[in-house]
Subunit: 330 residues, 2 copies
Amino acid sequence: VTAAGGEDALVDWLRGKLGVEGAVLGDDAALLDLPAGGWAATVDSQIEGIHFPSGLPPERIGRRLLAVNLSDLAAVGAEPSFALLALAAPPDYPRRPLLAALAGALTAHRTRLVGGDLARSPRLVASLTLVGRLPSGGRWLRRGQARAGDRLWVGGTLGESAAGRQVLAAGARWPEGQEVGLPAQLAASSSADTARRAVIRHLAPEPQLALGRWLGTRDRAAAIDLSDGLARDLHRLVAASGVAAEVDAAALPTPLGLPVLAALLETDPHELVLAGGEDYVLLFTLPEAEVPPAEHGCVAIGRIAAGQGVTLVDGTHRRPLEPEGWDHLG
Amino acid sequence: VTAAGGEDALVDWLRGKLGVEGAVLGDDAALLDLPAGGWAATVDSQIEGIHFPSGLPPERIGRRLLAVNLSDLAAVGAEPSFALLALAAPPDYPRRPLLAALAGALTAHRTRLVGGDLARSPRLVASLTLVGRLPSGGRWLRRGQARAGDRLWVGGTLGESAAGRQVLAAGARWPEGQEVGLPAQLAASSSADTARRAVIRHLAPEPQLALGRWLGTRDRAAAIDLSDGLARDLHRLVAASGVAAEVDAAALPTPLGLPVLAALLETDPHELVLAGGEDYVLLFTLPEAEVPPAEHGCVAIGRIAAGQGVTLVDGTHRRPLEPEGWDHLG
């Protein structure tokens, strides 16, 4: 931990909060005694004005930062072990609520915060490095392991998070410890509950660590975290595997109320589903005979074929799905 | 690696630049097979306008980012092994020169870039997580290992980097592949060479990895990286060790020309030396009989005593040295 000037007190406070030995948070680098084996490392950032609107409660930022990182570990089948935080914020930013929420979420995932860097910045930029372990008896999930004949699955509904982003942009707020507050027009509409759930889905994604661990017990599974939208991330998966994919448009799971909410937001619901992004569920493939346990809420959305590229199949209609999503369809 | 939209091409380019298997840079998390043992992890950031002036060449930012992180590993006696980068920059920022310079510097240190996160941001914020190993047969260096009777050492001169920061603030520039350019008044002065070296010392610190490794072969050594100035970092070391320190003011090593340069910059040279910061040399203690090999350029600056706090001894004059440095002296 390096901490500018008056930050020593903040580090001391955080050390107490985390309840770990001073040894871990205190030297220039965290000193760790690691067992041999498979380890996974990832880094993700949350930047004010880019990943979340200004004015978001610091607690939500702290927890979201961890959630998006955990989703990356879920996508390779790892279990979180330890984390390092780089936090740059304006001098008067309420860092303690952010750090306390992050520390609580880390503890809930039995993950240690072992290092950090605190700095000043005109806007909040928080980057979390997360290191996880391969569970004993597990296999890594890789993007490149899809084979022709596999079935293609998603771990949850699509488009809801992107809708939530637009609801927030329209003026919704979710103060810590309170319900989601909607702008008047949405609050009075039949989509109010759908809109509230979309905001929660966007701000508090639930990384699919248990699903990732289950996939790691299979003989072969390819997986990727859906962060940049189905279209783009599926292209990444098929490119890494040297295969093609066919997506059944009718099978794509969305929350029931999404089309009406999208109409109120003056947005194309297909765009939300195919390219909205930040779904933070797993996109994965399994040999045809394998079906994930029902508790993970997975839905089969297509299949893997020989060749390359992604085809969207809508009844008898077939058309290429470009990485950019719906916008760029012919 | 997650990379927004058009970033896939950049990641592909970087993968080629690094010459590593796609496996390492490509899945949602880097998959690593690590041997058991001691590992050290640290994170440090470089933020435009905070850690360096706007307009600094991207190559220098990339190399400085690595150097300040390596200095943290040096302070615990670790050898660098792998790194993860979070880079947030304006859309039109020349990221390739920064990444290429960082990649080159990583390769020179036999360190792999295994993951990253690329995002947009109005100002450049680069955070590097660095993970290193305990060399075989080595011991960790810790802040808490100083004992009364030890001698106190620094690994190089003090104050030069802080002077360089002020020379940059006065308008100096160091374009990639060229000499340091000074503002007219400094360029015409007898301090021109001192000023140029100060800028280089500030922008291109040389982390003391070899010194850290040597200290790790000793039975007992305490160490800390001098990033926030001698006064503050020495207070951290003595607090962690539960001891006091006496610093011999006359022994503090500074470049010969520093006092004259400081006068031109209208700065107190004592302030630069005691509290200027960003020296990026090691501050360490050894039992009295032990002397570091001459090649590391170390200088004994005082001794460790029972008690607490830091005393500055100037001839027969003794006064407390507060963590804030010279400014706050009585």
